[in-house]
Amino acid sequence: MDIQRESMEYDVVIVGAGPAGLSTSIKLKQINPDLNICILEKGSEVGAHILSGNVFETRALDELIPDWKEKNAPIKTKVKKEKFLFLGKTSFLSWPTWLLPGVQKNHKNYIISLANFCRWLASQAEELGVEIFPGFAASKIIYDEKDNIIGVQTGDMGINKEGNKKDNFEPGLNVMAKVTVLSEGCRGHLGKEVISKFKLDNNNSPQQYGIGFKEIWEIPKEQHDEGLVMHTAGWPLDNSTYGGSFCYHAEKNQVFIGYVIGLDYQNPYLSPYDEFQKFKTHPAISKILNNGKRISYGARALIEGGFQSLPTMHMPGALLIGCDAGTLNMPKIKGSHTAMKSGIIAAEVINEYIVNKLPLSEYENKFKNSWVYTELYKARNVKPSFQWSLIPAIIFTGIDQILFRGYLPFTLKHPHSDHESLIPAHKAKKIEYPKYDGKLTFDKTSSVYLTGTNHEADQPVHLKLKDPELPIKYTLNEYDEPAQRYCPAGVYEVDKTDQNSPKFVINAQNCIHCKTCDIKEPSQNITWVVPEGAGGPNYANM
């Protein structure tokens, strides 16, 4: 299709209105109000695609907007109590908090909704003159003839399933900028492209990911304890699977309950969604949720690789920041403050680049001299130690984090990529999950319903198969097609109505943009690309 495109010019274009991108825009306007900055956001509004626990450390925000309290930031619920439980099947062991590594102590932090915080950050950015365009996805990177990044193209709107223009076709346009900032969050599709194109991850351990689930529950007052932060490890996961839960008692009798599972799990029969549902039936958890009401559901992949997996974050004409690069601190279970700081540093470097022609590669030095780097460095050995299974990992982590405070004189490597970790189905143990009771546990359909997910139905499928035959020809036999289970939204199904020729079905309109399939598919056969702008979940208070 030959399409005439309009162009718009900015000093800086930022892809993704999350904590990293928004912080970049705010800092840039603070140091140089004359810059023209725009942010493209694929969600229908800022916050619609944001999902996070979230226990928030204010360090980066204190630097960026010191008077955030006066400016009425939605950061109200201070953490006042902490618990850490090891769960057995019906029992639990409460781990004394004084025995937790310092990074897991939260007494100065707040329980927040990151989506609402981003909405507030966006209002701060707009007051400074940043132009934010929700509902517009950056679909392609624009390179010049020397492979410098010179902007991004927004997605075409109004293309039908077959790829032809509909009556309401609206061509995407070229947003040209002196600097492009990629802040799409974990496994951004443009971030993935530049990491591979510019070989930004050459000297690293492969990136590691997890899938995180979150539900918001309204619970009876007597079961609620505002400010309580609880984490668990153990049941229902076995000792060789990395993961755990969070349960945060927020304001208005709400709890944010969730589960994170490392995507390096081995058993293709494991269903992260069902592990989470099952987890809620543990007596220590069900007593919190009983007679409560689930009001939200969502899931999103997150970064777990940390220091060893962090790619080079600069390239010609662009910076890669936040979890699009991978700045989350896994042992701390936090990434918002590090994402924000990576954005603040980006702003300082970009301004020097535009005004004083200093190279973007300055980012590397500035980042290395910042507290984010130190934080990630000290945390680096925790996650890889879990390849030795739970108990040795806990003992090691105690030595590493409490005795040596993260300064052991070696760095453990991540052994392989997450898509390489599955064992063939015939060698794996089948897992039977309990039926959903409709009170504590729910099926995927009713869960996806709560996400408010919508995609224009008549558009090309945005989950691309490199080889359309592979799911049935190979993955089904070898791994019992794990996409049916790792997808938290029921996008992938194997239709066995005709026993002799099963079909692989992609319900793309259900997709909640978590990116797990793009990460975990064992042959890397699924590529997630952006659908038409404004498609995807409509998270309210996640």
């Binding site: 229908s44 927004t154 408010g452 409509n538």
Partner: protein
Amino acid sequence: MKILVTVKRVIDYNVQVRVKGDGSGVEKENVKMSMNPPDENAVEEALRIKEAGKADEIIILSIGEEKCQETIRTALAMGADRGILVKASDEVEPLAISKIVSKIVESEQPGLILMGKQAIDDDSNQTAQMTSALLEWPQATFASKIEIDGNSAKVTREIDEGLERIKVNLPFIASCDLRLNEPRYASLPNIMKAKKKPIDIKSAEDLGVDVSPRIENIKISEPPTRQKGVMVSDVAELVQKLKYEAKVI
């Protein structure tokens, strides 16, 4: 000719609406809001009439809280010319809306009013009809096709029995059905341009309209959840269940 289009800011159709714990209303805090879908059809139709050279200005009217400006901006980004916001509490009843629209008609003198057939939040489906009565203008409700020809228009209406074609004289008021057209996307450059288009802000008091509610809300609650269906193995079991469990035969 001027066209006046009314738009309402409602909870987005993708959002699962949730009743507040105390039954005083539905949760709107941090919930995605957008333009009432049939109102988008009304805006689109106005644009098409203007593009066909049959109108020269499109005015967007919204009534409600300050944030309704965003909804007006959406319509301006689609291509409308200017906006009017009449500030009032967010729960104005159809009769008061109709009175406000009538007042705006007095000052703006449009030749055509386009509205969505109903709002997806309260499903009232009254404003177009009441406004027509107050103005003593012809009404063409549930329009799925509007053909303007000189001083009259042929309008196709979606009715229970099928389609009804009527002829109305201008000025008239039409309420638009979703089948009327496919609304366009607002492009980035047009969103930028829309930021500079004027929005005139008035209040209901300025217009002398009493918007105090005439309906008292006693309680809002969710509909009871439907029981799950059960599979029966044969007719006998079905009859058995209908007779002794459901007790309907």
